[in-house]
Symmetry: C2
Subunit: 143 residues, 2 copies
DNA sequence: TTGCGTGCAAAGGTTTTGCATGGCA
DNA sequence: TGCCATGCAAAACCTTTGCACGCAA
């Protein structure tokens, strides 16, 4: 799938914001508010529609929390390599970590050969706490 | 957390349906319809409230699809062991596979020691295609 | 009898759709 | 100019909440 439509200011500012913050995730509301206050106001419908396109195109990944059902969106750098490795995502800060070491590459193989299951890396996210947030938690005594 | 409230017919039929189909996942609508047609009609609100309790109590796990945002619920056998291992879930049929082999137990350790990240097994699900669904897909030529 | 449980109806929140207008090429 | 994009408003969904009545203990 490739971009075929017109270039518009709206698409540009949405993509810029996501690209310049690829370590962060955004809700639709968050995007709408940020664009309104910091760059160029874009209608909610347009944000939904363009995000939908970006997700289908693999430039942006959509995450939905099992507990809150809140949807967030995050820009993916080097999207073509992302189908080959797994991802860690911090529950606290949203940081996304690309896992491309030898050991982890063996995990999918193990699961296929020993459990007869084909992992879909595009849909799988390993959730937990990153180092920074763990330290912070420890420092603040868990609050 | 333990059950403290009253025993009611509604709770019993909801739990029975989930327990007797622990290989399947259900939407709230699905549960309401099945109960209405096959055992004992229960109001949607009650289903939501009891599922909420069961999820908090660890008897049932809630899954939300990143693409559709559809919530599904599935009974968890041996819930006390489930925080110690990872889970595979088939995107096609919903089957849940508990991964408690030595190799997989080492994955969380590897991620902690090499990537400084603490996996939360209660929130993580490895998604993909199970053997049965893969065979079926191959047989039907991918349709 | 006491008080939690149930379920209807209404409210709340998020996402999608219809349609007239705007703007890129 | 032709056609896609935009954004308002409304509709469509899903889930939660308020409240009166029902029922377990």
């Amino acid at each position: 799938m490739s971009e075929t439509g017109y270039k518009t200011k709206q698409k540009a500012v949405i993509l810029d914001l996501l690209k310049n913050n690829c370590d962060r995730e955004f809700t639709v509301d968050g995007l709408v508010e940020l664009l309104k206050s910091e760059s160029f106001a874009v209608g909610r419908t347009t944000v939904y529609r363009y995000l939908d396109y970006l997700v289908k195109n693999g430039d942006v990944r959509k995450f939905v929390s099992d507990s809150t059902r809140q949807a967030t969106f995050q820009y993916i750098e080097h999207k073509h390599e992302c189908e080959e490795h797994m991802h860690l995502k911090c529950i606290k800060c949203g940081k996304l970590i690309h896992l491309s070491c030898d050991f982890m590459n063996g995990v999918s193989e193990h699961i296929l050969s020993h459990h007869n299951f084909r992992i879909d890396n595009a849909k799988t996210t390993l959730l937990g706490i990153c180092e920074d947030c763990y330290r912070e938690e420890a420092t603040n005594g868990g609050h």
